[in-house]
Symmetry: C2
Subunit: 643 residues, 2 copies
């Protein structure tokens, strides 16, 4: 019996939420079909992906050379994973048949010994496993393994799972703690977390052990990537990050800070949290909590974006959070949400839910347009389009979302997080159901051995009133734990109409007792407009404030507030109003207030610091996730404020 | 008779200034001797320069390969130029004999057709002039030509001048407007301004014409560097700057903004201003004024640093002046001072003197340590050492001055500007002597045909009282024009004790009439501590103020004010005091005041924006040029201030 909570599986959750339902639909009807066309090189104006063709060549069904990134296979894997989740909520025979065809192709491409990676199968067979640092073999394997698990869970079909079991068997032969086995580990972490997911469906301890092995050997002396470089050639050339880019400069249990490539880091921490949970490894759990604190308490943007620097798409140092030169890759925010979900499975603390919510509603969703057809790779908190175009320092920040990317990691990652959003809402531990996110949904679990359906309703993130109701046959004995978000300072709770005042324990209120059919809990989270500041340790945000409402971070856009947003000043006293605008940005709550705009008579570059003219101006904020859906323009989250 | 002013030559000016005298001495006793050792590979711990050895190989006196940058010759040229200026104020027979030996070596290295560039002489003869964009041939030629002119002016010796006249003759054969001549021009501008200097000593109109030709063909269609790339290979790879990096994307007369590599830009504008002056080309003069306005009114740091970006060491866009990610190369600030001096020769406007003074006293001198043995290449206005080390975005900013550089352009450039500082003080136009800088000095000129010695005395930049006295035989009819600095808002003027209130015309007051021996003018510039702000168009400086006193920009350093300088807040009302500290930093006026430090109880990364605790703290500013002479620490120019 596991001492830890577990996320309620997707199959037991039905999302009815309008807000997220829209993104699930975009994933199903736009992103995934578009990606299928891309994988098959059917998008006229785009560079070919060649992904399916690589598999056809590897399978002997076509002739040609490998084309694409060394991790091109992972694009197909992410598509398969996203489609699998989508099939859970929207069964689709034709789509499933298409997947089965792809699985057949994968089977044909697989080598007799179980190996499966088209880059190496096509003409590089002798180089298998010789460059773990750069060649993403285990990364691709991990994504395909996640897809196999997801497809099996969605459909019960084992074909892809069997293929990947053979591949894992092969990997477990080559790598491991045994004599004669390679002590290598993934250059881009991903396989580790996938192996734990595999373990969840197979129950085979060898799968968990291999995941743990990859964590255990990482960063041990002699450093594997350094040894590898002695054979392959140059050391990794990032003079600042070195092997910390790969989280591979020291053993994972000794790492103190979230470092290096942010997506890699998040996927590693996911695996660490899952392995710590499954093995009860308290040292590993402590490392997870330490890295969590580093990532989220000192190195995270208010939007849940992580990775401050374009150089290595990486973390930098504590409190270094430039708003304009940020990286904040969409995939890294997704990785943070995944890490948070796994931390919730280690221990039910509200802070994990807070960060998960922050990332999902802000830094993740900002990656996709409201139409579902344009994507940000980099998610800035302050944009001046001319500066992005003319200043190479900021040129990695695109002031408009792009149609697709050569390195197409973010769009399919968005698709898989949207289609699996149901997996993030609930965790369950014996007789307690934790509601972590207030995404309208139904969840089927057992409480005290009685099957119950828990139904969450509301208009989150726009309104703070949440209704949690139960249907069951007979009385169910158990607890329902509701997360009181960190952003919320006043709330009320009623159970069947009766006002309750339970204590908040680690971010949750716990409702005990017997539950009957029709029982309902109403949680009213006060959701005023808030002025937020950063710690004074954040250099870039001194004298600035951000506006939030509930889980949403807001921003000013040029289209509403004119150019030169940096000249806007928030007076000490302000009255904010939140107003629903049905026709705007797919329906959003806008925030309005009177502010000031600093003006000068003459634009002398330097002049005596006489007080500036402060012109009253109406200001209008929109949710950050929805910015840049109305053309090109400036945007700003952290606004100058009177001290 | 020229309609324009002319800078009073170095030979007629004796600098007696303590402040600048110190830097002249450092140049003479430290930088130039150290550089001579470097040029001869006699610095044990340093990478070899190989510069002298390259000339010995080219001269057939040694065997070996060329080593170093393609512009390695220019290091010797700058040394020769600096030494030449130094010989004017400090004749030194042994040093002069050493120079003569070097000149002899140059003569031996020179090819029969006059060509002189060791990179091409040693094994690349057939490639001469085939890659003007990248190979710096004309840049090296220009620096050696400046050295030749300087050495001739300092000593009257013609040997180096003759060598360079032969080289110029060769260049004028290869390049020019004639049929069959190459229409190329320098990839790194420098030769153009050197040719005008040559013209000043030879009076040969062909030298001026060649300078003008290089300006005229620059950026004309078909673009020379694009044609060259068709033969040589790849186009310049800076996708943002393109040929604007070289100021070569359009004809110079059509260029609207200061663009591209900042040092290149400054040297080009120097040549444009000089050619405009000599030829009366009003279109070219208008371009100079336009580019001046762009560089100094929209793209210059308060320190006179220019070039906001490490990418291409280049200008970016208007009002883009990041304080921490700045480039602000020392050589570019020197180039700006040179440009300003030439603008003063086009027309006597105080704004040119203001910028010249700003650059020289701040962004130039910050490049060198008070001991004269450490140098900044990049001159930041805000430094957090940990961030420079750990954040690749800021890694080009070194938090401490360096001993020398592989690309050793800045130290010798500092040496030549220090040794020639006398050249920046005065301009003369017929019967008017302009005093542009208040550097204590004596200047010998003619006023109304009568030889006079004008003596400037004072304790600038620490005190605003300046005494200008004359000695002459008989009465001299003429004007003395004194620059009223742009930073000065109150001043008084006395002539032989009598209070005068002349109007300020374009930044100068003009004192007419007859002058007699012993006549004295006393100018008292009120020099209070000032709080300065940027235009509201500068994003990075919103809500911030800088402290200045007279021509000096001040900064806070960690050693005086503790860590986390960004947490300091200047209250609306402050009382500043300036106090002389003889023992500090070689003697400086420090600025002191009570300020505030923002504090918080808890370092939660994001929290409700309740007012922060404001703890009164004593603050101490030191002159910016003198920062980083007391160990490693934070530094900040633009301080947060209450609005």
């Amino acid at each position: 019996m596991n001492r830890h909570p577990v996320s309620v599986p997707l199959a037991q959750v039905t999302v009815t939420d309008g807000f997220w339902g829209n993104y699930m639909q975009l994933a199903r009807t736009k992103i995934l079909p578009y990606q299928w066309q891309a994988l098959n090189d059917r998008i006229p104006e785009a560079q070919p992906s060649h992904c399916i063709e690589n598999f056809r060549i590897a399978a002997g069904l076509a002739e040609g050379e490998f084309y694409g990134f060394v991790f091109q296979d992972s694009d197909l894997a992410k598509w398969l994973e996203g489609v699998s989740y989508s099939l859970v909520s929207h069964p689709d025979e034709a789509l499933e048949a298409l997947v089965d065809e792809v699985v057949e192709l994968l089977g044909k491409a697989q080598q007799p010994d179980g190996y499966l990676d088209t880059y190496f199968i096509i003409g590089n067979q002798e180089k298998r496993w010789t460059n773990l640092r750069d060649c993403h073999e285990m990364y691709c394997a991990g994504h395909m393994l996640e897809a196999a698990v997801a497809y099996y869970q969605a459909t019960g079909k084992r074909a892809l799972l069997e293929i990947m079991l053979r591949f894992v068997e092969h990997i477990a032969t080559v790598f491991g703690p045994g004599e004669g086995q390679s002590k290598g580990y993934p250059g881009h972490e991903e396989l580790e977390l996938a192996l734990v997911r595999l373990y969840h469906v197979t129950g085979d301890p060898r799968h968990l052990a291999l995941a743990k092995h990859f964590l255990d050997v990482r960063g041990q002396q002699p450093l594997y990537f350094r040894e590898e470089a002695k054979v392959n050639g140059p050391e990794w050339d990032s003079k600042i990050l070195g092997l910390r880019y790969f989280q591979a400069a020291q053993p994972v249990r000794e790492q103190q800070d979230a470092e290096g490539h942010a997506v890699r880091a998040m996927y590693l921490y996911c695996a660490m949290a899952s392995v710590a949970r499954e093995t009860g490894d308290e040292e590993l759990a402590a490392a997870c909590r330490r890295l969590w604190a580093s990532a989220t308490q000192r190195r995270m943007y208010i939007t849940g974006a992580v990775g401050s620097s374009v150089h290595g798409e990486a973390f930098t140092l504590d409190y270094d959070l430039p708003n304009d030169a940020v990286y904040g890759e969409t995939c890294a925010a997704i990785g943070l949400a995944m890490f948070a979900r796994r931390m919730l499975e280690l221990s039910p603390r509200g802070e994990y839910g807070d960060v998960m919510e922050r990332a999902l509603y802000n830094g993740v969703l900002s990656g996709i347009s409201l139409e579902g057809d344009r994507f940000f790779y980099v998610n800035p908190l302050e944009v001046v389009p001319e500066a992005c175009e003319q200043d190479q320092r900021l040129n990695h920040v695109k002031p408009v979302r792009q149609k697709w990317f050569g390195c197409a990691c973010c769009p399919p990652n968005l698709a898989r997080v949207a289609t699996s959003i149901g997996h993030y809402i609930y965790t369950w531990q014996q007789d307690t159901l934790f509601v972590n996110l207030y995404i309208a949904s139904r969840c089927q679990v057992e409480l005290g051995g009685v099957p119950v359906t828990v139904c969450v309703q509301g208009s989150y993130p726009w309104e703070g009133t949440i209704r949690v109701s139960l249907s069951c046959q007979g009385a169910a004995a158990g607890r329902i734990a509701l997360r009181i978000p960190g952003w919320c300072r006043r709330w009320t709770l009623r159970r069947n109409g009766e006002l309750l005042c339970p204590e908040v324990a680690e971010g949750y209120v716990y409702l005990d007792g017997l539950w009957h059919d029709g029982d309902a809990v109403e949680l009213c989270l006060d959701m005023p407009v808030e002025r937020v500041r950063s710690s004074v340790r954040v250099r870039e945000n001194m004298g600035r404030q951000a506006i939030t409402r509930g889980p949403l971070v807001y921003c000013l856009e040029e289209v509403d507030n004119g150019k030169d947003l940096h000249q806007i000043l928030l007076p000490a006293q302000m009255e904010f109003s939140a107003r629903w605008e049905q026709a705007l940005l797919g329906g959003v709550m806008v925030v309005e207030a009177q502010g000031l705009r600093l003006a000068e008579e003459e634009h002398a570059l330097y002049q005596a610091a006489a007080p500036l003219r402060q012109v009253p101006v109406p200001l209008r904020w929109v949710p950050y996730y929805a910015w840049n859906n109305r053309g090109v323009g400036e945007m700003m989250v952290w606004i100058h404020a009177q001290q």
